[in-house]
């Protein structure tokens, strides 16, 4: 088939099984937009209102489905507007393809209108990027991009696509396969190491699983759940890992890290065998690295060799896909004569239960103001714990992580690594597109939601019945909290003045707005809001302005140095 580059792109995406593409048109992408009109059969383009939102939406789609998210934008400002979104996806290892229009090859380097060095700008925040100079290379480049984005440790791949190449013609045939001599992701963990790890687990007295986003990304949830239950060990999950193991299971002792539970952080501090799976010893998790797990032998399973012994030196490294490694661990345990002994960890569990009885997540419900924690709990009840929950960044994000009990993977979608305010709403659009009938909600703050508020318009256009749960405390709450704790209550620039009336704003965009400011009516009003199955509803919850997120490990402190309520 003889096609233009622009047509090849559309045909390739359909052949690759892509159904949704988020984007925004402009000069250097017009041939592609034309081909979309003439050639696309199943491929649906969703027109966002800002390119950053296109990337976050594709990202939300990818996180919730496991499939790569695809974005199409124009050159120059179109491309630069995607940068925050790309960095967000990169930090959390999300498979994405970002196609950027570029000025014609003959004009590259001449400071042409809407020219930026997209490949150069995005280089440090992508898994890889390409500039397509010859239409003959286009199809195979696209294939490579999808292969790179979705295998090994996933990540975003940018394809910069000059306008003359979009117009040039070439023969097109869908490339079924691709091999790259310089890129060979590990497909299997080392059996000897896996055996050693299992032996170490069986002899542990104070073991703990510390699992992260890698388990979600690597679809290791089922095997992990089996393994943890078989061993009867406590498990703590990172912000990115929530849901991989059911939080409602008694073996789960909550999230760890800066705003983790008392029992999780203390168990980390006192454990003798730490089993880290798909987690990367991030500073928000480890606290002061010098004081991290002082008595532990560490097993670390990760797909990325560069993650292993990066921040913390480990005793048994296992490089491999988490699902395969966990499967092999389970199989080994089943075959083994020596079975897990509950009495090995009896004393340890007694200690953990004592910590747990502190009930570090308790909060005061007596006042007349709505507590943000209570709001999240009520949302959890009303949605029967079965929603897809996206979030922004701040206190509300931590409250969501702490109080919405996630029992399934890919249900909790947040920008954990980069901490990008403005992520939540567009991400929710991506999830809703993937699961039209599911309850999709975004727990956000009045600060964060305003960073991509324009997407209310997109939600109307595509009939996306996302529910916004805005914990409106009138402050950039997380900033205010740090200022209260560490800057003598000088609340510099953290008060949000001149807020819009979010109810009216929602209505102006053609949606439903509901304000909740009374604890007594909260549950009932939430029921009403979530009953509006096919409407986008902005739920503006006026919460206690002074509430803080506890427990908290101040930056740089050890895991045993928590501030409780």
């Amino acid at each position: 088939m003889e096609l233009t580059g622009a047509q090849i792109l559309i045909h390739f995406l359909e052949d690759e099984g892509v159904e949704h593409i988020w984007g925004y048109p402009g000069g250097a992408a017009l041939p592609i937009y034309d081909a979309l009109d003439t050639d696309a059969k199943k491929l649906q383009h969703i027109l966002v209102r800002h390119e950053q939102a296109a990337v976050h939406a594709a990202d939300g789609f990818a996180r919730s489905t496991g499939k790569p998210g695809v974005v199409l934008v124009t050159s120059g400002p179109g491309a630069t507007n995607t940068v925050t979104g790309i960095a967000t996806a990169y930090t959390d290892s999300i498979p994405m393809i970002i196609i950027t229009g570029q000025v014609p090859t003959s004009m590259i380097g001449l400071d042409a209108f809407q020219e930026v060095d997209t490949v150069g700008i995005t280089r440090p925040i992508v898994k890889h990027n390409f500039l397509v100079k010859d239409v003959k290379d286009l199809a195979i480049t696209l294939k490579k991009a999808f292969y790179i984005a979705t295998t090994g440790r996933p990540g975003p791949v940018v394809i910069d696509f000059p306008k003359d190449v979009q117009n040039a013609t070439s023969h097109y045939e869908y490339p079924q396969e691709v091999a790259l001599r310089s890129y060979l992701p590990v497909v299997k963990g080392h059996s000897g190491q896996i055996r050693k790890a299992v032996e170490m687990m069986l002899s542990a007295e104070r073991p703990i699983f510390y699992t992260g986003g890698g388990v979600v990304l690597g679809d290791g949830s089922e095997e992990l759940t089996k393994l943890v239950r078989k061993l009867g060990f406590p498990i703590t999950q990172t912000l990115m890992g929530l849901g991989a193991f059911p939080a409602s299971d008694p073996l789960s002792i909550g999230m760890l890290g800066m705003h983790g539970t008392y029992e999780a952080n203390l168990a980390m501090h006192h454990c003798d065998v730490l089993i880290a799976i798909g987690s990367r010893f991030d500073d928000r998790v480890t606290g002061n690295i010098e004081k991290f797990c002082p008595t532990a032998k560490i097993i670390h399973v990760d797909i990325d060799p560069a993650s292993i012994s990066k921040n913390v030196v480990v005793d048994i490294p296992i490089v491999g896909p988490v699902q395969q490694v966990l499967q092999e661990m389970n199989a080994l345990l089943d075959k083994q004569a020596q079975q897990p002994q509950a009495e090995n960890t009896q004393a340890w569990w007694a200690q953990i239960e004592e910590w747990r009885s502190m009930d570090c997540l308790k909060f005061d419900t007596s006042g007349t103001k709505i507590k943000p924690q209570a709001a999240v709990k009520a949302v959890w009840e009303v949605t029967k714990g079965d929603a897809y929950v996206t979030s922004d960044v701040g206190q509300h994000q931590m409250f969501a992580a702490q109080y919405y009990t996630f029992d399934k993977p890919r249900r909790w979608i947040n920008s954990g690594g980069l901490g990008t305010m403005g992520f939540g709403l567009p991400a929710a659009m991506g999830v809703q597109m993937a699961f039209p009938d599911a309850t999709v909600l975004c727990i956000t703050g009045e600060g964060s939601i305003q960073m991509n508020i324009q997407e209310l318009s997109t939600c109307l256009q595509y009939g996306l019945p996302v529910k916004i749960v805005c914990l409106n405390n009138g402050f950039l709450g997380m900033v205010r909290q740090w200022q209260e704790f560490f800057y003598d209550r000088r609340y510099s620039m953290s008060y949000m003045d001149s807020l819009p009336d979010f109810v009216k704003l929602a209505e102006a965009y053609g949606h439903v707005g509901i304000r909740i400011d009374n604890p007594a009516t909260m549950k009932q009003q939430l029921e009403e809001a979530f009953a509006l199955k096919d409407r986008f509803v902005f739920i503006d919850i006026i919460t206690d302005q002074q509430e803080n997120v506890y427990p908290m490990i101040p930056a740089g402190a050890g895991q045993n140095e928590m501030i409780l309520v």
Binding site: G120, K127, L131, I148, R181, S182, D304, P305, A306
Partner: protein, 157 residues
């Protein structure tokens, strides 16, 4: 290391070093007999843990085909220097002698200058420079070290 001979490959390597705060002391790169590949030698400093991390991160780059740490085994290291000296009066003989001692070759001569070509380990080139009064050095250009493993072992794909 061997990297894909493609535009951008070198900047990925250089970008990795600056982004992660590693330093590049020297770097040489040129295509190999297989035109699709470039051979790159990079000199950096770090403890064993840092070097391990650097190697891992380099391997993560899609354009990097193969990396070895030459200092892990016996290897040969060579650098090329061209150095232009102000050579008048007695110094004309003096610099010929000195170049000779260091097995350098004078590759260009004018009434007032010599250009000496010298190949060797980095330290030897440093020593030559140290042996000359800086006032006489007009210009130096050095390639940075290139390395290869001793014996039959090869860096190949």
């Amino acid at each position: 290391m061997l990297i894909e001979n493609e535009s951008g490959a070198l900047s990925r390597v250089a970008g990795l070093f600056s982004a992660r705060g590693y330093n590049i002391q020297a770097l040489t790169v040129a295509p190999t007999e297989d035109e699709s590949l470039s051979r790159l030698t990079l000199v950096t400093l770090g403890n064993a843990h840092q070097i391990e991390q650097i190697v891992k991160h380099l391997n993560r780059l899609i354009d990097v085909v193969k990396v070895v740490d030459l200092t892990e085994g016996a290897h040969i290291e060579r650098e090329l220097m061209l150095i232009k000296l102000s050579a008048v009066g007695n110094y004309r003989d003096e610099f010929v002698r000195l170049a000779d001692i260091f097995r350098g070759t004078i590759v260009d001569v004018t009434a007032t200058t010599y250009t000496v070509q010298m190949i060797g380990e980095t330290q030897k080139l440093d020593a030559f420079i140290a042996a000359i009064d800086p006032a006489f050095i007009l210009e130096t250009v050095r390639s940075g070290a290139m390395g290869i493993m001793r014996g039959e072992k090869c860096l190949q794909i």
